[in-house]
């Protein structure tokens, strides 16, 4: 168990490092005068801009900048915002809370709803229920956050005045964003669950269980224990879509969070901040997937013997 954990976490760190490298290289393609425009806020003379470029190490050769950045990241120094002069780690620390709450809440809701819909769509023998669940899953998949959010705010906070719509913080303010983002996430989890349990239900051991007269709940237990296994991996992968979704959800609900930090940084061309947020999500995403991988191997020890390592 421990060797697998170490191996997977190591692989995740390597992937995150490569992602950092790609983002670093990509962002160096921003034209230099655009960076100057960002730096020029509040500074008037060209000499000052040049001095600031020097101080930030922007005039160093690219490889030098890269190794400085990499070394800094390892020591907890993620650079500083070109616009605000604040360390990127501070900006992240101040904004990560609301985003994490939103993402985890949505993941929880999306998994619960998705697995429920998936089981109904995959196993129900009553056609209206089966097609209903299938339709709900397809609907969830096809309705992006930026339009369900509008609808949800209209319904819950304008028509019925049940929940606060657009606002900054507080547990009650989390309900609607989680609902909207979780619903969209449920779609793909439901589809994977449905096909996994459906395929499992056709297995020989299920037929045997039925043939020997096991009551339906016990047969279901047989099916779900096997059928829900792949869902673990899919839920971890959904986390990536969720991180993308938080950007839009935070914008619509005017919530504080990393997503809005990222968007503001993009319009400012504040690339140390952009870099920081993207590297952080890549790191979180790879680590969560590594953990899911380990969990998966732990639940089903057969996996490790027949998959070539990834």
């Amino acid at each position: 168990m421990i060797p697998i954990l170490v191996q997977r976490l190591g692989a995740a760190l390597v992937v995150a490092w490569l992602a950092l490298t790609l983002v670093f290289v990509a962002l160096r393609w921003i034209p230099g005068d655009a960076v100057d425009a960002t730096l020029a806020r509040g500074i008037t003379s060209e000499a000052d801009i040049a001095a600031r470029r020097d101080a930030l190490g922007l005039n160093d050769p690219i490889p030098r900048q890269y190794f400085d950045y990499l070394g800094g990241v390892l020591h907890g120094d993620w650079g500083e915002s070109l616009v605000y002069g604040q360390p990127v780690t501070d900006i992240i620390a101040q904004n990560i809370g609301p985003t994490a709450a939103l993402a985890l809440g949505a993941l929880l809701l999306g998994s619960t709803l998705g697995i429920t819909l998936g089981i109904l769509a995959g196993l129900s023998h009553w056609p209206p229920l089966r097609y209903g669940a299938e339709a709900a899953a397809s609907l969830a998949l096809a309705t992006p956050v930026y339009w369900t959010a509008t609808l949800a705010i209209y319904l819950f906070s304008v028509q019925f005045d049940l929940l606060p719509g657009v606002g900054a913080s507080g547990a009650r303010n989390l309900v609607l964003p989680v609902l909207v983002l979780g619903f969209h996430t449920a779609g793909s989890i439901a589809h994977v669950t449905a096909s996994a349990v459906k395929e499992t239900a056709q297995g020989d051991f299920v037929r045997t269980a039925r043939a020997k007269g096991l009551p339906t709940p016990d047969v279901l237990d047989h099916i779900l224990r096997v059928g829900l296994l792949p869902v673990v991996a899919v839920i971890a992968l959904q986390f990536g879509f969720l991180l993308g979704g938080t950007v839009i959800t935070e914008t619509i609900f005017a919530r504080r969070g990393l997503g809005r930090v990222l968007l503001r940084a993009i319009s400012d061309r504040d690339y140390p901040v952009i870099q920081g947020v993207i590297v952080l999500s890549a790191l979180a995403y790879s680590l969560i997937n590594a953990l899911a991988d380990v969990l998966y191997t732990w639940i089903d020890p057969r996996i490790n013997s027949h998959t070539e390592g990834r």
Binding site: V15, L18, A19, T21, L22, V23, A26, L27, W29, I30, S138, L139, L141, A142, T143, P144, Y146, W147, T150, L151, I153, Y154, V158, G187, S188, H191, V192, A194, S195, K198, E199, Q202, G203, A233, V234, L237, Q238, G240, F241, L242, L243, G244, G245, V247, I248, T251, I252, L262, L263, I266, R269, Y271, I274, I278, S281, A282, Y285, S286, T307, R310
Partner: protein, 291 residues
């Protein structure tokens, strides 16, 4: 239990292809017919926009701001008093064109890299897939946003960003399918009698994995539409007056408390298109046995 090429990859790359092991062919064809009819209808409506539209989609009439749906404006008017019905019709052109462009940008490199990695194996595979994994670690919408920073805003740039962001997943799915197909007896036979790799890939592997590729292309198109509209929604499309479903949804956000119709029309249009696309994707999967 037979496993189709790509079955494993579907789970591991987290893509949304519905693996329907025993869907009856007739049900699949019915699905496909319905999906094609929907998509054809939507495409037809947007193509016929100049004849169907009741107003100029860019023509603002400030006095007619936020009018409720009526005979003159079937879907109401937006914040600048423009006719929502006409804008939805014209908007589909840009949204669909962006989706198609992004799809093309994803498919070409994704397919080639996936096939090469899956077929060549060894260090080629490892090198290509390491880069793809690194890109996959960045959530696709964030990757698209990062590309927007470099490319700048504009509809073409947005489509390009979405298309590039989709490449790693498509390459992974193709590679997994090719890897599994390579082990099939007739392909092993072709290899052993010395058929050239290009011939094997083109004549033997591609036909076998075609359902997976088509199905995943459908899913990719759905993503491209949603991510493209998301970028437009966030305001990276350049021309903010252009009729576009994402832009319309962004504009409608300003007054959905009093005028929800401005969001409903483009939202329903977008969801319907994505729904039809996913339906079409699901109708391709698993048809290898019936071929």
């Amino acid at each position: 239990m037979e496993r189709r090429p790509g079955g494993e990859a579907n789970i591991r790359t987290g893509e949304k292809v519905m693996t329907r092991p025993r869907t009856h062919p007739i049900r699949r064809y019915r699905r496909r017919a319905l999906a094609l009819a929907l998509l054809g209808g939507i495409a037809g409506l947007t193509l016929l926009a100049p004849w169907l539209a009741t107003a100029d989609p860019r023509h603002a009439v400030p006095a007619d701001q936020w009018l409720a749906p009526s005979a003159a404006h079937p879907f109401g008017t937006d914040h600048l008093g423009r006719d929502v019905f006409s804008r939805v019709l014209y908007g589909g052109r840009q949204t669909l064109a962006m989706g198609l462009l992004a799809l093309g940008i994803t498919l070409g490199p994704g397919l080639v890299m996936g096939l090469v990695a899956g077929y060549a194996g060894r260090w080629v595979d490892r090198a290509l897939m390491t880069v793809m994994d690194a890109l996959l670690a960045i959530p696709s919408l964030l990757l698209a946003l990062a590309l927007i920073v470099v490319l700048g805003s504009g509809t073409t740039q947005a489509a390009l960003a979405v298309g590039i962001a989709g490449i790693p997943v498509y390459a992974r799915v193709t590679r997994a399918a090719a890897l599994e197909a390579r082990a099939l007896p007739h392909i092993e036979a072709a290899r052993s009698i010395g058929v050239r790799p290009v011939g094997i890939l083109g004549r033997h592997i591609l036909p076998v994995i075609r359902p997976v590729l088509l199905s995943f292309a459908g899913v990719t198109f759905g993503w491209a539409l949603l991510n493209g509209a998301a970028l437009m929604f966030l305001g990276y499309g350049g021309d903010i007056a252009a009729p576009d479903w994402g832009v319309m949804l962004a504009g409608a956000r300003e007054a959905f408390r009093s005028a929800p119709w401005a969001a409903v029309a483009p939202g329903v249009a977008l969801s319907l298109t994505v729904f039809a696309t996913n339906l079409l994707a699901s109708s391709f999967n698993g048809s290898r046995a019936s071929k």
